[in-house]
Amino acid sequence: MVDIIKYSLILSVGFILGYFYYTYFKISPGGVLATPFLVLYTLEDPSIFVIFVLAFVSSIFAIDFFVRRFLLYGRRLFYLALLVSLVISAVLYLLLNPTFSTVFFSIIAGIIAYNSHKELMGGTDYIKITTVWFSEFILLYIFGFIIYSIY
């Protein structure tokens, strides 16, 4: 019961934060759901953030490769990013064997990579995308950390 309350609290604050970030910065590299869920999973086991980073970088490279080489865009690229993220995360799960695991986590890197690519295509630079997303993640993580300490 307590778990549901703290998860809901973190997710709710994540959605509100995401909305204000989008309203202010006009970009949303984390999408609506991905960043709050990533924060939740990282709070459960901080080591899986390493898996996220590696899967994210792989997805970004895959997207860039397929866009440049085959001119892919849109939904086809999104599916590709999800697939790469899923495969890389699964392999890293096996190698690193974290204490916490969930399938949804495996596609988060793909969602964020695709959203970042969309923002990049729209003319936003890497620095802004990274800064905006990371600051949103850190703020929510700190909030989540406080909630986890209380409960």
């Binding site: 866009v67 001119l71 892919l72 849109g74 969309k118 990049l120 295509m121 729209g122 003319g123």
Partner: protein, 383 residues
Amino acid sequence: MMLVLDNHINTIYKIHRLSRKDINRYRKHLSEAKYRILVSGSRGKSGLVEDIYGVLHGRELDVLGKVTGSDPKIFYRGVTYYIDRGSNPKRFFLDYENAGIIADFKADIYCFENQTISRYTNGYIHFLFKPHIEIIPNLRLEHAELGESLEEMAHTFGATLKNVDYAIYAEPIPHNKERVIPILREYASKFGVELRIIDIPYSESMLPGVERVYILQELLDIMGLPPLTYHEYNEVINRVVWEIKPRVSSYGFYYVDLSKVNDPDTTSIALEYLKKNYVMGRPIYILAYFRGDRIDRTKFFIPFFERIRDDDSVAKVILGGMYYDRIKKILGDKALEMKKIDMELLFEKINDEDGFLILAVNGVTFEMDMVREMLSRVAQPAV
């Protein structure tokens, strides 16, 4: 000079998947092109692409023009190719259509209409087409995904000027221009783009589309070509005037189809122009159709209908589709609901009153096609 209207040979170009060879040819043709011109922004893109093609082709330059929208076409070496997107239009992809055309048609100059409706696809088109020159005739509130205000739209188009050499902006509406120019200037100076801003003389700004002439002059200057000849100038102006000219309906009254003009600013300019030049005191009827999937557009039109409510020259507004109670409430007695009236009787009434009909807002709908069909059909003799 040979304008596109002079073309008599028409053929079909079918969109196809891109093979490795196609992608290589696309890269080769794109890099060998002397000029890649992208026509972006909101209103009058297709007409401008046709004008650019007409003038450059008339000067015997090797140019390919491509227009998009509901009636996509390619103009190439005097031939008009109608683009066939297949049985399901949702299955066409920006890459198949644009890169495919560049792969299949080699030209020294490519002039494409930017078919984007979101920030992402706008960026993708720039990635795909890599324009040297970008023309933004105007920015109008139309697709919320491009921006919910003019400033947001200016950021959307400004952010993708990154690899462009020249940008031309020719907004004729002063208050829109004041809001957009500082933003475009900011991006132009950041990316080292030469931004050319065109001032439309006030005396001419009331003719919707007149900026096309000035844009062409600027484009020719950038390309190092002589300015428009008297004949070319006349051809372009005649086309601009022709596009807004009223037609006689099969019922006998005059009407103008502005239903593909999906923004309130252009509709207002066109309405004023028509009142001044063609309406001549006749009662105006506006038929506006609202799409359920375009709530953003409906919202953008609310201030327009607030002005129409107080405009004595407008007799009635016929509302169709998902217009919501708010617009009906704004218009009060002036509102008629399409679903509650017999359109045949209404058109006969307009004719009896010597009225003037304007089709507005959403042109690409089955219902508006039906209305157009009713207005343009040849009267059948009674059996």
